[in-house]
């Protein structure tokens, strides 16, 4: 009896340690996750638009007290034939255009996608008050400020993403997490919607200067390079075609309640990109949708370079699993998971509301929630990829961004 009790205590304590130890390690996971509200070393704007009706204002800031240099890449995912909707016979162009951005300490900057920004050092505006000593030209205009460098305009019809990677003066990746950004999509009617860029944390201790940026930094794999892509995207949305409950009550459509349909447009981009060889990621994702009665529905689709579709066109078009006709409730909750062996995706969702067909549309864009990470979810935590037919070769779950050699 006296021998049994100490052994029991021993096993209890050992079991507690075994149970607690993994939990202690993953308690640090949040610090290394992608984030939409912390600075990072890579920032991604999943949705940039200039189509003649909608334009995008990009704001980027250096949150550090050091000079910041970033290489930025536009990826134009407009369909090859702009007259027809994107599809298997009209794929996205996936053309990449890159440029450099230089920001002084704490400097914010901005540009408009349709116009880019001049490379003139001071822009053509400088300060306020008595302007007589500051040179000629129009001194108070929208290009005031230290120029971040020459930023090209995007072509009319552009829809795609913008990605910026922090680098040092020699263009080698630098991981000091000093980049943040926001995008404001503005319609010709004046309507606006705004979202935060998705920031990937860099590991400052990672010594490699390779242009092959591996997204494998997690709470369990702390010697990784950049934040691993999220394993699951979570988002709340309204059923497609449901009537907006506020507009239905407060709007006035000729003396009658407004039909006020809501539509949600989902934008997803793969985390993996090979910008050197212009090979863009392809990820098949599963959607698990829950209505307010907790009833599950599902569908799937493939994200080839870029996806931007209303929910009712994802999977089977028409009365698909996102519609009010099928869901039966106003609200829904969707979980988005890549297929095993696939890399991850990130994205935003944009709700479009109008009082009635033909009346002005109000857009509200928002960042998606994330859960877990693609590296731990698809590997055994030691870099050995699970569900990967040929380790190191596509399709594999560890995401990589390969930037062109400078």
């Amino acid at each position: 009896m006296r021998m049994v009790k100490p052994v029991r205590v021993l096993w209890t304590l050992a079991l507690a340690a075994v149970v607690l130890l993994p939990m202690a390690r993953v308690a640090f996971a949040n610090v290394n996750d992608v984030s939409t509200e912390r600075s990072g070393s890579i920032i991604v704007f999943p949705k940039v638009v200039w189509d003649g009706t909608r334009d995008t204002i990009i704001q980027i800031a250096n949150t550090s007290n050091n000079l910041l240099h970033a290489r930025c890449f536009y990826v134009n995912a407009a369909p090859i034939n702009p007259l027809f909707p994107p599809g298997p016979t009209n794929p996205a162009q996936c053309n990449e255009t890159d440029f450099d951005v230089w920001l002084t300490r704490q400097q914010p900057t901005h540009w408009v996608a349709s116009e880019g920004r001049s490379g003139f050092v001071f822009g053509s505006g400088y300060g306020g008050g008595d302007l007589s000593g500051y040179g000629g030209g129009d001194l108070m205009n929208e290009n005031g400020g230290f120029s971040p460098g020459l930023i090209p305009p995007v072509t009319l019809g552009f829809i795609g993403e913008l990605k910026c990677v922090q680098v040092d003066a020699s263009d080698a990746p630098l991981r000091t997490n000093a980049l943040k950004g926001e995008a404001t999509i503005r319609s010709l009617s004046g309507d606006v919607s705004q979202y935060n860029a998705v920031a990937f944390q860099g590991n400052p201790e990672f010594g490699s200067t390779s242009n092959d940026l591996v997204l494998d930094l997690t709470g369990n794999h702390t010697d990784g390079e950049y934040s691993a892509c999220p394993d699951t995207l979570l988002f709340n949305h309204f059923a497609e075609g449901a009537s907006d409950m506020v507009i239905n009550q407060l709007g006035d459509c000729g003396g009658s309640p407004c039909p006020a349909p809501i539509s949600t447009e989902l934008t997803l981009v793969p985390c993996s990109q090979n910008l050197e060889n212009q090979v863009f990621g392809k990820v098949t994702v599963q959607f698990l949708i829950f209505n307010e009665f907790e009833q599950p529905f599902s569908t799937s689709t493939t994200v080839s370079c870029f996806l931007n579709l209303p929910l009712n066109q994802i999977g089977a078009p028409g009365n698909n699993s996102f519609t009010y006709t099928v869901l039966g409730t106003l609200g829904a909750y969707t979980r988005i998971n890549p297929n095993p062996g696939n890399g991850g995706v990130i994205g935003v969702a944009e709700e479009l509301r109008s009082a009635t067909s033909g009346s002005p549309t109000a857009a509200a864009i928002f960042n998606l929630h994330t859960e877990g990470n693609r590296f731990d979810a698809a590997s055994n935590g030691k870099g050995q990829l699970l569900n990967c037919p040929t380790p190191g070769q596509a399709p594999c779950a560890t995401d990589q961004i390969i930037v062109p050699e400078p």
Binding site: Q107, L139, T356, I365
Partner: protein, 458 residues
Amino acid sequence: MSTMTGHLRRTILIGVFATLAVAGAVRLARADVASDKPGAILVFPKIVVDTSGVLGPPTDTEIQITNTSNSVISARCYLIDATSHCSNAKVCSNERTTQCTSDSGCPDGGSCIAAACTVAAIANGAAVGEGGCPAGGICVGPCNPRLVENDFRMTLTKRQPVSWKASEGLPSFPCDPLTNPEAVGCPNGLSNVGSDGSPSRVPRVQEDPFIGEIKCVEVDPSTFQPSTGLDPINNFAGDLKGEATIVSASGTAVDARKYNAIGIQSAGPFSNNNDDTLAVGGPAPEYNGCPKALIVDSLFDNAPVTTHSGGLTNEVVTDLTFVPCTEDLATQSPSAATLQFTVYNEFEQRFSTSIGFSCFKEVQLSDIDSRPGSFGNAQSIFNFDVQGTLSGQIKIRPVPGAATDNRVLAVSEEFWDCTGGPDGRCSAATNVNLIPGAGNGDQVCLEGATTPPCMIMH
């Protein structure tokens, strides 16, 4: 025998130290609040209801909350009213421009209510019933003299989303046969009825117009006491996620702006002692600490922004809404905070200012360092007329207090001149960026809190 005893003793000590080290590591996890991850406390910093269009276009807020886990969860929620009222005027609820002293002075069906106001509206000369006050009156509030809150409870089944309008609340949950006779019911007999048999319900906001905050705390479904999350997939950080969409409509002109609720994650799987005093950050946290500073990238007020290849130019202003992390819901005493602002323009020129507030603060950028209202805005350090560049980076640092860090959470909104929006305005909302950092922590004291351990009850 002695060798075996010594061996056992060593092994026990190793196990004890390992457990303590691991438990300590769990408590010391330095992570952040986040608006892109589920949490154990959910904060909606700005809820607006103004269905009669007193303070602006007719407006309401759509609230969405989801249980992201595969377990039944419960939450205790608090609807905090931060609406300000005229000190010397009441108006009829069904005729907002008619002043009254009692219900009998109102048209049939109306009641005599305190006139809602804003200091900016008074400064701009708005009439009573449109946000202004009669001469000699002041706009009292928010939370003056007390923090006014209505609390409510909900139980959510696995992965269940719910949504409601703030003006109406949600008197009947989808899977609640007690209040919804036509409830389909959720799979496997799960329902929104709490373990104590109480139905889930969300009350409507306390008044209209209304401006305020919602805070939800995840609780154990069986005891309704604060708890960690239940989902091991997200490390028990919390299972609540939410969004708020502020929608305005006037005729067929509509506007919408949306932000994610801010999730405060549990500090670890065993971090919560299940009492009504919630330690948010600090040396012994139950929840991750609020951010040490906030960063807002903003277009300066009245910046003329040109888009569409020069085809569209409009001005924009930005509002920030702050709520304190420390909150005394036990004695309903408002919490104060002081914020230091450092502003950088695109020439890296730096400016600074500060403000203090109690309980809730919604402020246009240019009103931070000038009089409320439009007077003086052109001389504000947040205005394009002073800065000369369109955009700026604003760093906001709360000043720590004696007992708590007095940190804040915030949401940012832009208001653009536009022809298609109600009252000629279109808006967008975003979550602000955060800078994490250790500190003494903040406290949220729920209604059952006692002193000690709650340090902020008066």
